[in-house]
């Protein structure tokens, strides 16, 4: 059984109020829960800044990463995060495991539970697959990205990165540019940003905008949709470019990548329309020269590499909170 032997940065994290078995999306998270993740991530960032950068908080816990889709940074980030707290980590991919032999998702997660997995980090190509998994295992399930639905830890690390630069998000304007319709990153970001009180502008070709999300605004922030990037950039505090999949051209959703670049690439001229010093973000992996110009991706206002670094701290926070909840 999991034994939390050491609390990181004692005193920094007071009595965690995390009760969730699973983290499937950000849409269910309260402001207090998001705050708890942010505060815990602060403590984890402090751990990461030490010469050794490790604690034994999750010693005895088994974290399984179960990836049905390719990933470099998310899987590596979770693995580093879990190991930085002393957890045992098992990495499984759809190729090279019994998944290929047609073993169903439910059988797989039950098997992993039986061999002692405490937490399952799961990525899957089909929206909602982690929900199915979570309903059929006692292990905690962390959604590491499902289809075109959600990517909650990415949204939390994005929020964390924004807060470190902007302080609070209340009243701030965040522009998300690109294939919003098929973006799990955009969707999960919308919920955390609204909860934090930001206004979100979704911008992209009309074929790639989820029109009904315009009504998603809540008591704090609101969501607006526009196909006009120049308009969207005005007074933006944060500009987040999304990866554009080349298949979108083949399926006719955009006429051509050239046209997409002309109209929707985040470049210097467009960035100049945002507030001075507006943060430039990208969830990765980037197609430099397509959705984002290289000089902007690596420019002074870019926090793209910092997103990756913060990702480890935020995932440590999530793993810690979820593992702790399991011992209660």
């Amino acid at each position: 059984m999991l034994d939390v032997q050491e609390r990181p940065a004692a005193g920094a994290v007071e009595a965690p109020a995390w009760h969730r078995k699973d983290l499937l999306d950000t849409d269910v998270l309260s402001r207090a829960e998001v705050e708890l993740v942010m505060e815990t991530a602060d403590a984890m960032l402090e751990v990461r800044s030490r010469p050794v950068g490790k604690v034994a908080t999750l010693r005895g816990a088994t974290v399984v990463t179960l990836f049905y889709e390719q990933s470099t940074r998310t899987r590596a980030s979770f693995e580093v995060a879990a190991k930085a707290m002393g957890a045992d980590v098992v990495n499984l991919t759809a190729s090279g495991s019994s998944v290929e032999k047609g073993e169903s998702l439910i059988d797989t997660v039950r098997t992993l539970e039986a061999i002692g997995a405490d937490l399952l980090v799961m990525r899957h190509g089909k929206s909602g697959a982690p929900y199915l998994a979570a309903r059929h295992t006692k292990a905690g399930v962390i959604n590491g990205g499902d289809g075109t639905h959600a990517h909650p830890t990415q949204a939390l690390l994005d929020l964390y990165t924004m807060r470190r630069h902007l302080g609070g998000l209340e009243g701030k304007r965040v522009v998300i540019v690109g294939d919003v319709l098929h973006s799990r990153v955009a969707r999960s970001n919308i919920w955390t940003l609204l909860t934090a009180g930001a206004d979100v502008t979704l911008c992209g070709p009309a074929t790639l905008l989820p029109r009904t999300l315009a009504s998603a605004g809540g008591e704090h922030g609101r969501v607006t949709l526009t196909a006009n990037l120049d308009e969207a950039m005005a007074d933006a505090d944060v500009v987040m470019a999304l990866r554009i999949q080349k298949e979108r051209q083949a399926t006719g959703l955009i006429p051509s990548l050239r046209e997409y670049i002309n109209v929707y690439q985040v470049n210097a001229a467009r960035a100049a329309k945002a507030k001075p010093g507006a943060l430039i973000m990208h969830p990765g992996p980037m197609n430099e020269g397509i959705e984002i110009a290289p000089d902007i991706a690596h420019g002074v206002d870019s926090v793209i590499e910092e997103q990756v670094a913060n990702g480890v701290a935020v995932r440590m926070a999530v793993l810690y909170l979820m593992a702790t909840a399991r011992t209660k």
Partner: protein
Amino acid sequence: MTDLLIVGGRLIDPANGLDAQLDVLLRDGRVSAVGKSLSASDSVRYDATGCIVTPGFVDLHAHLREPGFEQKGTIATETLAALRGGFTTICAMPNTVPAPDSAPVVAALLERIARDARVRVFAIGAVTRGRDGKALASLSEAAEAGCVAFSDDGSPVADGQLMRNALALLGALGLPLSEHSDDPVLNAGGVMNEGRVSERLGLPGQPAAAEVAAIARNLALAEATGGRLHVAHITTARGLELVAEAKARGLHVTCEVTPSHLFLTEDAVFGSGPEAAYDTNAKINPPLRTEADRLALIRGINDGIIDAIATDHAPHAREDKLCEFDHAAPGIACFETAAGTLLTQVARGELDLGRVVAALTVGPARAWKLDARVAGLGTLSPGAPGDIVILDPARRWTVDTATFATKGKNTPLQGSELLGGVRAVITGGVLRHELEVAHG
């Protein structure tokens, strides 16, 4: 055979304009008389006080799964479920393997039906060979063998030329073509209604426009050929407007709606809460639509534009639904909940009881001229089949799939409280099913 006298109930027989406290006498398996305070010597009396007495329900759209998919359902299991749901006449969709696309296959199917079925079953033939949408099936031979209508079921006849030819040939035979009106290109990859819920859950959507466009095409082809188009399970407000307009212009067009689309919306995919989202039991094709669509369909029943309530009963095995939403088989097993949801909606004041009974009985019987095959089908006229449903509008019950006769436990209604349901079912003048409840 002993006479059966059903007394004390509220008798609703839309074909004869009856809705009153009347008795009905069944003799030699047929309706003998309907009237006030009937009596008959040597008859068995059934006290239907407090209940609604209607003709047996006629279902234009059901999936029995046999032959080919016996793990999902068989003629024996699914017709028992139909019986318990009040459906005493059903039309079996041709998505079986083999598909009934020629006289020998139809004959073999009808043999199995004659052996195993618990209710009257008509066969629907395939429009194209193997339902592959490429070449026409042996339509006139299959008709000769007994098919009452034709359909490729869940596979729309995408090729407009093929559809035109099928409508023309079947029109000449006076037989309806029941079409799942959808544009497969617009729908490609879609697994639920495109809109608020699909965009929230990141699921590929099936736009309402795909159904509307297909209905418009099919109506134009029906008009051009004089064919008899039956729009299967209509789900969109705009599609229904097109059908209403075509009817007003005198086209041979009829349509049906399912109890699921009258009762549920796309929100059912959210399940019972955030962690229960992606309820595969709410996956159905065509998909559950918006509340505005649902209300339009309800109006379509209440104003009589929709001819029939058809179940689209679609039993699936457990593993067909216990998987990712994209991979789940579409369909809801609803023989045994249809009367319950409809009566619940009557109790809520949404649906008009007389119209509902008409759409379950004489409406479908006339839409496909089934009453020309079985005199009086869907009515309580003298000489009509002794098929009766006795409904208890006061019965409060909770849907429990463990009690289902169907092999399909796939319903998003599990655990739902319903008001009203089937109490007893009579076919051929004999009480075949009675709910075990305390009387008096």
